[in-house]
Every structure is written in C-alpha cells, then in structure tokens.
C-alpha cells in the first residue's frame, strides 16, 4: 500500500540525513554539517510550497516573502534583546500566517498567470519595504546577535544540536504533510487542482480550503525563514527577492511536484549543483541554465518521477 512505501522512503531519507554529522565529524569536515543543514532548511521551504503548488495547483511566485518575514521575526526581537526562541519562532509562524491570509484572500480571486503575477507583486512589495526599514539595516541587512535560545539541551550554537533540530522539523513536516494531503482537507484542494469546475459541481466551494492551505504553507515558510536566520546569523531583505521565490519553485519542480520527497531531493540537488558548479567555473550559470531546460523537457515529473516506476496515483 502506498502509505507503507512512503514510510519506508521517509525512514531511509531521515536515516541518511541523520548520518551526515557523525560522518562529518569522523572525516573532520564540520563544514558539511552547515552545508546540509542549509539544504534541509530550504527543503522545508520547498515542501511547504509544494503543499499549495504541487497538491493545490496554486503557482505562488512569492513564497520567499514568508522566508523573509520568518527571518525578520527572529531578527527584530533579537535586535531589541529578546532572543527567546519560542517567542521568535512563534512570531515567525503567526506573522507569516497573517501575511499569507491577506495575500491569499486577494490573490486567490485570480487564477492562472494573474495569480502568478499578483503573488510576485506582493513579495516584491515586501522586498522594497524591507529595503526601506532603516532601523533594521535596510538593504544592508542585519546581523543576528545570538541564535534563538530555548534553554536546556537545545542550544542552537552547537552545530550538531541545531542540525538535528532542523532535521526533526523537516521529518515532522513530511509526516504532517503526508497526513494532510491524504485527509479530507487535502482531497478538497487536490480535487480543485485536478478539475475545479467539476469540484464546484459536486458541491465543494474550494476558496476557503485553498486559502487555508495558502496560510498553512505561508506559516511553514515563515518557520523555514526563522531557521534560515539562525543558520546564516544574518538576514537581509534579499531573502524575499523574486529570484529567491524562483529558486524555491525550481526545487519543487526539479524534485517532483505533488510528491512529498520531491522538494527535499530538489533542494539538495539544486544547492549541490550551485555549490559544485560555482567552484568549477565563473561561468557556471551557462551550465545550470540548460540543465533546468532539460529537466523541464524530459523529466516531466521531476527527479522523483524518474525514480518512480508506477505512475503517480492521484
């Protein structure tokens, strides 16, 4: 049954990622802990986007806005000396949820390319707002004085501890996401994606559910933003730029839309590709560009699609 296969793959993926720190410690390469943690944080953002993009068919081109909001929800309190983790991350989730509610309420009235453009517009507005926030460094951004504090064993300054916190959140998202997309709520938004007129004809009014999904994805993106702020210990409005939204979208598409693990694989592969290629040549983008085109042309269901033998069920 699909569920058990998914749990197996989840277990294997979780195990592999869990082994990275010990291996890094043995080979005395602590850098890989940071590298993979950054990938997992972007994987969380990609999984949250996949909820509305892959399952809900809502092509949001402004998902990086929530990364920015989540990051500033950590940065601004820290700037004023409040570095309690629960408060910061809670604020990140709530603030991005509220923003997603406002943006979603307006954007979901449109569809197709108009939806893409209006979500892009809102993210650009937040980007320019970020640039004009002089007290928080404006375009220069702001250093995070100290990482979020949770007390007790959870100390994010320990690279290993922080790594496993991020891994735990990613696994939690995959499990929750897995349940959510199969639940009644998930079925409504997936039906609306598959054939909205038919969904309306049998009695669904999808707007409320799509908006809820939009808010859930936004708040999850906000949490990813909070993690990113702690990872880089530096935050800038540039997190919200439209090219960053593009990057997250590519991770979802590259990995495989409408699957849970696609975005995780997409995030890891894209960031590895960028890291390796930019080390090889300054003209690395002339290689990355065509790779993206080829992926679209030949890997219709993304990398996961290539691996999966049976056609994707509904």
């Amino acid at each position: 049954m699909a569920i058990s296969r998914r749990t197996i793959v989840l277990g294997v993926a979780g195990l592999l990622l869990a082994l990275v720190p010990p291996i890094a410690a043995l080979t005395n390469q602590p850098f890989y802990v940071d590298l993979f943690r950054r990938m997992m944080i972007f994987a969380i953002a990609a999984v949250s986007l996949d909820l509305i993009l892959g399952y809900g068919g809502m092509v949001s081109f402004g998902h990086a806005a929530y990364l920015g909001i989540g990051a500033y929800a950590v940065g601004i309190p820290a700037f004023h000396g409040i570095d309690n983790g629960f408060l910061q991350w809670g604020l990140a989730i709530v603030a991005s949820a509220l923003t997603a509610l406002v943006i979603g309420a307006i954007s979901l009235r449109t569809s197709g390319v108009y939806f893409i453009m209006i979500t892009l517009a809102f993210a650009q507005m937040l980007y320019y707002l970020g640039i004009s926030l002089e007290t928080y460094g404006g375009d220069n951004g702001m250093r995070l004085a100290a990482r979020s504090k949770f007390g007790g064993p959870i100390d994010l300054h320990q690279p290993m501890v922080f790594y496993y916190v991020v891994l735990a959140i990613l696994v939690l998202f995959l499990v929750l996401g897995g349940r959510l997309v199969e639940s009644r709520f998930g079925m409504v938004i997936r039906a609306a994606k598959s054939n909205e007129p038919r969904a309306r004809a049998i009695g669904f009014s999808p707007f409320r559910y799509k908006l809820t999904a939009f808010v859930i994805a936004g708040s999850a993106g906000g949490l990813a933003g909070a993690l990113l702020a702690n990872q880089t210990e530096y935050l800038t409005p540039e997190f919200m730029h439209w090219t960053r939204s593009g990057e997250i979208m590519f991770m979802v598409i590259l990995g495989g839309m409408g699957t849970l693990f696609g975005p995780v694989i997409g995030a890891i592969v894209l960031l590895l590709l960028e890291d390796v290629l930019s080390a090889l040549t300054a003209h690395w983008q002339i290689v990355l560009g065509p790779i993206l085109v080829l992926v679209v042309l030949f890997a219709k269901h993304g990398l996961v699609g290539l691996l999966r033998v049976t056609p994707r069920d509904g």
Binding site: Q29, P30, F31, Y32, D34, L35, R38, Y128, I131, S132, E134, G137, G138, D139, N140, G141, R143, A146, R147, G151, G152, D155, L156, H157, Q158, L228, Q231, T232, E233, Y234, T236, E238, F239, S278, A282, H283, W284, Q285
Partner: protein
C-alpha cells in the same frame, strides 16, 4: 599545527550569583584543554607521566584576556593548541567561545619536570646528554633536549608512527620521545607549510566584472611575489558570493572549516562583509577586507584580526564634501539609490559639506530611467549636483544627464560612479566629471606604476581601484608572514606587523588607525581624454592628507 577542541557545559558551581562565570574557572578550563590535547595525542597524563618518569608539566607563566561573559547554561567550546616547544618549556594557547561568540583567549607556558633518580637508572643516555648534576625535583632535565629548533629526521621517523596511534611501538620509546614527539609534530608542519588564502568576491552575474578585476589583481600580486606569499607556497581559494550575504557566509564557513584557510580576503559589498567578517574573526582567522568598509566594522565591531586595504565607506564622500565646501559651492542637489550605502554616502558628504543642500533625492535601487529625476533637477536649477550611482545605475545616469544637455549647465560631482569600469561604457558623457578617491592609476609612486603598467600589459585594460585594493591586500599578508618568518600560528606578531603596514602599497605609504582602517590621502580626480583618445581619471589635487575615518573613536581596540 596540533589543535584540539572540546566542549564543556557551564555548571552552576562555575558561576557567581549573577549567573556569570567566575573568572578563575577559565584557567581550569585552559588546563583541561591542555590535558585533553595530550590525551588526543595518545599521551593521557595519568598514563604518560609514570611511563616517562615525568612529575608534571607545571605552569611557568599564564595569562588570559576576557572578551565576553559566559553564563550558566552555555556550552563552551575550548580550542587548545601548542604554540611552540623550546628546550625546557612549551607554550599552549587557548580560546574559549560560546558557539561563534569568543569569550576569552589565554596562554600557558609550561615546563617539563622529570623525576631525577629514577630517570637516570633505566633511560638510555643520548650521546650529547652532558648531564649537569642532579636535577632537583622541580628543575628541568638537561639531557631531555632535542636539537633546537627542528628535530633530527631520524628520530622523527622513529616516533612518527606514534602519531598514527599504533599501540605496539609505544613501550619501546624512551622519555626523550615524549619531548621529541611534541617538538616534531609542532615544528614539522611549519617547515613545509603552505599558506592558504580564501578570496570571496562576486564572479558571476552583471557585477562579476568587479570580481574579475579583483581576481586579476590578486594573481598579478602573486606573480610579483614569485607565486610565494611570505616565502611560503600559496594556495588561493576563490569563492563567488553572487552578491548574497548568506552565500558569502557559507563560503566563509567552507573556507574556514573545510579548507582551513589562514587568511580570508576580498568582499565587495557591505552586507556581505557584515556577514563574513565576524564569522572569520570569531573563528580566530585573519580577515583582510579589500573593498567594503561599513561603519559598523570601523566602530564597535572592530576586531584585532580584521584589517582593510580600502577605506571606510563614508571617507570618499567626506572628501567630496570637503572639496565642494572649500570651493564654497552652495545649493547642491544630492541624489543616491534608496539603500543603506546610498544613505551612508549622503550623510558622509554632509559631514564636511556645511552649505545649503537644495534637495536629497533617493531613487529605486537598480533604476534604469532617470529622465523624471533629471527634469526635477532642471526645474530646481541647483548650482551643483552630487550623486552616488555605482555600476549600471551610474552608466545610465551619466548618459541620460549628458543627453539632457545638463552636462554643460550644472556641474556634476560624484563618488563611486565614474571609474575604470564605467568610463569605457560612457566615455564623453563623463568628460569633466569630478570624483574623489584614495587612489588613481596616475598616482606617482613606484609600486603603483609597476602595478598599473603590468596590469595593462597582462590584461590589456586599465586597472580599477577594486583591483588596487586587492593587490595591496596580498602584499599586506605577504609582509605579515615575512615578519614572523613563516610561523602562521604567531598571530600576535602578525597583527603587530600588519599594523605597521610596511609594504609598498599602490597608494604609497600609509598608517593604520586603531580600528585597522587606513589613514590615507584622498584626491580629487577628473575624467579626461588622453591624447591617445583613451578616457581616464586624473588626479587634480589632494583633498585630505592622512584622513581618519569618523568612526574610529567607537572602536574599543587600543594599541
């Protein structure tokens, strides 16, 4: 060099009522660090001392500098390493930090103390032992003396296996091995040491042209040094930050942890610098900035391991402000993009320009069409216009300003707008433009003429200040390593050497301010057309001599 890191939680018993660690604890942690280092070399004290008849390694001298407080609940990272090993003593250096925040740095000088009678009985006496009588407990064994400074290859070869931890050979090795081992493992790498320098800049995308100039200048510097920096082989590791602070930070982490570089250098953009510099310096590595000079790093965030070979961002507009003030120009119309650096430029300008500023206009970052703003300028009809428009924005503004016919009517003064990158793209549209800068290709000093001449020969185009600063950065590192005769672990002396800045800089001789920002001259330049038709910037006059930045007072460093 040998290094060992361990982590220790701060317990309730370590802190005073205020929850801050009671300072003597740091010394205990230094001792712990030293002990664990020995253990990591397969020589745990409880086992090693009896085996080699050593009473102990008592502290002869110790000291510590407390940078920031550690609190109850923090987990301390203690990094200990062996600085040097001499006849009778060896020096340990320690750093204690909470995550990436440095708490304290300390050192211990310890002596070997052997047990006299037992040692004589069963220890094989090396040929040159020349015992000087009984070594009273507490005094040092004269015969325990490797030949200074390095160790004879034969002895090293015999004990090298120990480093790889094979148990069987340990019992046969005499007490001499204990000293020889440490000396060998410390001294040996120093001899064949390669200095690793990480260089972070922008190599892809539109701004990649600046990174290209910096990389070319670094390579030219290496050519002039015979591909050796400070007499050591050099390995350059370039990183492309894609104008993104988080990518810059990831590159810095990679260079520090994966490549274990000794120096990190470069960085064009202020926001990338603010992300990279603290990461590098808190990891105990030198950061040699070669462009961005945000005021935070000149002020409260200054650090003994941070040096820049460029300037503090505000200094260049300050020079233009002073020049225009001296010319008692008034009614100035100021314009810049609406981002942090833009605001810094105009506030720096107004620090020395006290006359009337007609208007302060901020335009959108990356804006292409300035026709609307140019019409506003014509309507306001000011006596002069002062702008800051780097890169593509500058090219567009200069063209449109000239095309609107204002070039002849209202004189234009600028900073970081007309340079050897934008000049070829605008040519006559920039003719007669005034800029202030700390350097110019036609600066008459031997180092600069060599740099400019060779750069033109090798790359076929004029160098730009981003390049000159990077060239100087490499020269600064070279001078520092030379001063400590290649001992990269001796940071104290390297800092002192760098502070003297005694290398042939392309800007000519200069001194360092307390915050490690140069105290240097600033000149007024004008865009002119050379007889051979090429457009270039030429020095007109000196505006500032030995100009200090405005933020050094905020820097706590005193030397």
């Amino acid at each position: 060099m040998i290094e060992h890191t361990t982590e220790v939680p701060v317990r309730w018993s370590d802190v005073d009522p205020a929850g801050v660690v009671f300072y003597p604890r740091f010394f205990e942690w230094y001792d712990l660090g030293c002990e664990l280092l020995f253990a990591s070399l397969g020589l745990p004290w409880p086992e090693a001392f009896p085996r080699y008849d050593i009473v102990g390694v008592p502290i002869v001298e110790s000291g510590s500098k407390f940078v920031s407080p550690a609190r109850y609940g923090d987990v301390l990272t203690i990094r200990s390493k062996v600085a040097w090993v001499r006849e009778k003593t060896f020096r340990m250096e320690h750093e204690i930090s909470v995550g990436s925040r440095l708490c304290s740095t300390g050192f211990e000088v310890r002596a070997w103390v052997g047990r006299p009678e037992v040692a004589r009985r069963d220890a094989p006496r090396p040929a040159d032992s020349g015992g000087s009588g009984r070594a009273a407990p507490g005094s040092v064994r004269p015969d325990v003396r490797p030949d200074v400074p390095g160790l004879s290859p034969a002895l090293f070869a015999r004990i090298a296996p120990l480093a790889s931890g094979r148990r069987s050979t340990v019992r046969t090795i005499t007490r001499v091995a204990l000293v020889g081992l440490l000396a060998a493992l410390i001294a040996a790498p120093a001899a064949a040491q390669t200095v690793k320098i990480g260089f972070i800049t922008t190599l892809s995308g539109p701004q990649g042209i600046i990174g290209e100039h910096m990389k070319n200048s670094v390579e030219l510097a290496l050519d002039h040094l015979g591909r050796k920096v400070g007499g050591l082989d050099v390995e350059m590791i370039y990183g492309d930050d894609q104008v993104k602070p988080d990518v810059g930070k990831q590159l810095a982490d990679e260079m520090l942890k994966k490549h274990k570089v000794h120096f990190v250098s470069g960085v064009i953009w202020s926001n990338v610098m603010l992300a990279v510099a603290p990461t590098v310096t808190s990891a105990g590595t030198f950061m040699i900035g070669t462009n961005a000079g945000p005021h935070e790093l000149a002020g409260k965030m200054c650090h003994e391991l941070f040096f820049t070979t460029s300037w503090q961002n505000d200094q260049t507009p300050e020079a233009m402000g002073k020049y225009m003030q001296d010319q008692n120009i008034t009614d100035v119309y100021a314009m810049a993009p609406n981002y942090a650096a833009g605001k810094d430029m105009i506030s720096g300008f107004k620090r020395y320009f006290k006359n009337k500023v007609v208007a302060e206009v901020y335009t959108q970052l990356g804006q292409q069409d300035y026709q609307a703003e140019i019409s506003q300028i014509r309507a306001a009809n000011p006596k002069a216009v002062f702008v800051f428009y780097p890169g593509g924005m500058g090219i567009q503004f200069l063209k449109q300003y000239a095309q609107a016919g204002l070039r002849g009517q209202i004189p234009l003064y600028s900073v970081y707008t007309v340079d050897e990158i934008s000049l070829p793209a605008v040519k006559e549209a920039a003719l007669g433009q005034f800029e202030t800068r700390y350097w110019s290709p036609d600066l008459k000093n031997e180092a600069n003429q060599k740099y400019v001449g060779e750069f033109r020969k090798k790359y076929g185009k004029a160098p730009v200040f981003y390049g000159a600063q990077s060239y100087d950065g490499i020269m600064l590192i070279d001078a520092a390593i030379r001063a400590v005769k290649g001992d990269l672990t001796n940071k104290k002396d390297m800092i002192a050497a760098m502070r003297r800045a005694d290398y042939k800089s392309t800007r000519g001789p200069y001194k360092y301010n307390v915050n490690h920002f140069p105290i240097e001259n600033f000149y007024l330049l004008k865009a002119v057309q050379n007889p051979d038709g090429e457009f270039a910037m030429q020095i007109q006059r000196t505006v500032f001599e030995n100009h200090k930045d405005a933020y050094s007072a905020e820097c706590p460093m005193k030397w």
